[in-house]
Symmetry: D2
Subunit: 342 residues, 4 copies
């Protein structure tokens, strides 16, 4: 219970997803994705994104991100990303491994989001044989500070990328949280805003372990099936992953889960902000709340059983994450605990 708000990956899977896994466990099925669940998922995603997509599955966000990047960046490529991005800070070099050595260029725009004008100024070296080549821009939705890009921000970044013959990757580990925050369509938030390849996360928002690499331009798939297999992410009994995502994306399960998580984050954020000496580090726009807490308050919460997650962002901040099954009661308990300190 103490790790309650440590991350959205400490939660269980939601009932709709679990039921789908149980249902998929029946009879024989083709292996390596040659099964009805995988086919249904591809169709579901094409419907949701309002365009024919190609889909490849993975079981971790690290793998799906690194795989997506490996489809877009040559070994001598530059991948522009925010300094705080998961691909830059939390994947222990997986992008470098999967791409064969592409270089991540960490940008330091404010609030954890890449600024289009910073990007334009940073891109350089195209065609110069001494220099790694501008290849990809990666944006995260929602991003590592819990904020979201506005559609016109994504469009501006994509335009710069495409003008420079680069591709656009979106790390959608918390895609649904950003989507309901913006209240736009999946198509609007991705390919209609210039995103070429998406890694769509399910794990944090109600799945057991399910992530998808979604290509909006089938012609960009190229040799990706070989890269996918070679990475160790082509499961033999793929139906157990496909079925998770298929249920997750059916009947708005993913959106309901995300709306709940975001609503809980809002309650928590407002509660924390009401304390005189607690300051929000970033505006709360999805399911992550970042606050600056004095050291003694951190110690107090830890001693009270909370497993406080301190992050190195622009400065230190404490992260609280809500999930599809967070309860108001638990939030109130946390706020009450804090109130006793103040």
């Amino acid at each position: 219970m103490n790790a309650l708000f440590a991350s959205d990956n400490v939660t269980s899977a939601c009932p709709e997803v679990m039921d789908a896994v149980i249902a998929a466990n029946s009879g024989i099925a083709g292996s390596y994705g040659d099964d009805e669940w995988s086919l249904a998922l591809k169709n579901r995603l094409s419907e949701i994104f309002e365009t024919e997509v190609e889909v490849f599955l993975a079981v971790t966000g690290t793998a799906s991100n690194a795989l997506a990047l490996s489809a877009l960046a040559p070994v001598f490529g530059k991948i522009y990303c925010h300094e705080l991005s998961h691909i830059n800070t939390d994947e222990c070099g997986a992008p470098e491994l999967f791409t064969g050595g592409a270089k991540l260029i960490p940008m330091r725009s404010s609030n954890g989001r890449i600024d289009a004008s910073d990007l334009a100024e940073t891109i350089r070296g195209s065609g110069n044989v001494h220099v790694t080549q501008p290849s990809v821009v990666s944006v995260t939705m929602s991003c590592e500070t819990g904020t979201v890009y506005q559609l016109d921000e994504i469009k501006a970044i994509s335009k710069i990328a495409h003008d420079n013959k680069m591709s656009v990757h979106m790390d959608g580990a918390r895609f649904a949280n950003a989507l309901v925050s913006l209240d736009v369509s999946p198509a609007e938030m991705t390919w209609k805003s210039g995103v070429d390849v998406l890694t769509l996360g399910g794990t944090k928002n109600g799945c057991l372990a399910a992530e998808a690499v979604v290509f909006f331009k089938p012609e960009m798939v190229g040799n990706f099936p070989f890269l996918h297999k070679r990475s160790g992410q082509l499961l033999s009994k793929m139906r157990f992953i496909s079925s998770q995502l298929e249920a997750y994306l059916t009947d708005d399960v993913w959106l309901r889960n995300a709306r709940h998580a975001n609503a809980m984050a809002k309650i928590l954020s407002e509660g924390l902000d009401s304390f005189a000496n607690i300051k929000l580090a970033y505006p709360t726009q999805s399911n992550e709340v970042f606050v600056h807490l004095p050291r003694d308050v951190i110690d107090y919460l830890n001693s009270a059983g909370y497993d406080i997650n301190e992050e190195e962002l622009d400065g230190k901040a404490v992260r609280f994450v809500t999930a599809w099954n967070s309860e108001v009661k638990d939030i109130n308990d946390l706020l009450d605990t804090l109130a006793q300190k103040y």
Copy 2:
């Protein structure tokens, strides 16, 4: 139904494993393996193998094999394996990716198993800077021809390896099938015979997707946790993998499943062998049966709805694989179908 004997990965998960996954889906739990199921699994494996082991999980055999090799081979290393081994033929270069370019040396001993004296003759170049360096021997149990190494064969290979300062890896994708075939203990088949690192498969024998890299010498773990994370196989909700293997290894589930599969293979093998013009390609020692079939018989079976799996081994052979839930009735159906042709 037509893919019934195509592979043991077309089957569902067994009830004990599925129940464990359902049970694990409760409450919050530490992520990345910091959970009770992962701890229990480590203890279970240490008990089963009669020694303190270190365990890292993965979701595909390709990943677990490639990861294990990456712990043992330097980038300029040689990995001796059989030409037919899964790491050499079925992983699309994952070992090369994960090791950073180590070279697999394909050996051509008969029956799909490395011959110790062939190995001794093949090892060369140690200390010569122009030559990739002998680093690992990899043996498969049961191997790709459905046969098993005898303990003294593993010991002989291990001795040569260790005498040459190399490590021994066992690809145990079908570990349980080999174990019950030999009727020895897990310890005897591995570290007591000189195996340093094992990839222990669960997926083919009743799990959804669960493989373990087992270190018998904790001091060989070294930097492996970073290699593991970097490969995209460190799941956030690891409990859903740990719980599978924990149930699989409890109350002899894995052994019962494997004994059943092997028994079914024996029935099928004898049935096939009783046809005058069907010839076994290899003795049936686990849950895979290989036979030479005339082209017209292959066509006939395919038209009858069987999805025949032709393999390139010493020569072409057709593979039939039984599993934890194969039924005698289905085997008889296959034999009857063949009888109608002959």
Copy 3:
């Protein structure tokens, strides 16, 4: 003196090449190949090969081979080569490094040369996502047993490669020796026989350190300039490499050097063959002579000051290599020394 016949890389550079280096050491010149010598070399090679070529330089055969392969093989590619080939046995994994993990498939045709029908039978797995993909065939001229492919053999191999959508690489570390042995034109021995990319060696035949990667189809160059730079082979003062090869290829220097080396090998080969108990391991077709020598004769020669080079080929053999400046007197000394033993 004792290493006299150990290799053709123990020799000095020929005067024409050395003079060219001295001449190039004058004034300022553009760096990284933007100089008159590099331009002249490109033109020279286009003239010699009777087609417009693209040229990239390197200082070792290992680098030039690995670079050439990196232009042709994807990370999940298969490179078919002879088991004895330099890329497979003597480059400590450079091809795997430069290609990002492509897999060398060692073939065991006789005499150190790939047999076209063996190749046809060995190619497999195209389009199968589990399998590394057939991508390149690499042939060596003259090859590691000192023999040469006939033009129709190269053509047969190239046809099979191209029919399978693969590329053809020629390791020409001893290109000139093979060329004068066959007495054909450079064009005939390469692109007219289906070779796509050549690594042309100069070092062994009179240069200080100069190798060229020659593309016969400019459209195959693609991103190679970046791979070249990234490999650390784009010299700033490139004129010192270009000038070597430019002189080497001028006024038949390379051909004269090679003819001399081959002629010396022929004298040595006939001399050795005249001993009753010395047996040639392979026919002598270029500047390498392989013989089977009893152990006591090897010891005797070593004690007489020769630094005997034992090679693991089809079986053990002793290698004697002649060079552009080998002298008949030294050959006679060797034969006399042997005669005293017999």
Copy 4:
């Protein structure tokens, strides 16, 4: 002539070095560094650095830097360097290739040099499996802005590195220029200040193509000989590289060359600084002069035949580089040309 000040790599080799190459071209010699010149060089370097060193040669700064880093950083390692450093900006990903994917962490301290306190704050994540691991700090002498670290600055950086169990690499592409600028001993500027591995450049300061990777702690060499061979930098006729460096380091050739180049830079720097509207971008401490020039002045110089090298540093700046053979007359010509504009 127009590229006169574009770089120190547009120059020829100095006579002492050229004479040594000519002298080395005599008789047979052991290959791959087993020759008298290579042995003499190792001894020379041990003498100059006042400690027993291990030496490996390369022909480009890119290769020698990337090789050195590959000895120090694991595949999941972090290499802290300045954002402007050659390894980060001018090697097209060679460090990533040679290290197998280590991550360069670009620091933005002022004047192109890493600030020790910035470094201390930036190092993080040690032992955290999600995070690439702090492994190496790389400093450049003289650095990419033409300035030099003071000894106490190097010591402070080294202390932080070693306190964090990291290694210290020095990119000494312009080692001699920095050395004479500081007027300290080679030992003081390296291992006595905490440097573990040095890449010592010869090419820019009078060699044809010669760089050395120098290990001050032989126990850190480990498997480096295999990495060296595998990178394609182990030349067969190594004497032609060793002899260059051996002559370069004899009789103070390298120091004389560097002193001349630095003196010329000082004259040029003072000349440029005397113009009212030309502003030095950095203090001139070695053989590179950086100035801010208006666009029309750049165009004017280009039209006057100078090949102006614009660099992206903290802001744009124009680089002029002097060399071992720069002449006062040429500097005066440049200044006169500018004077005509102003």
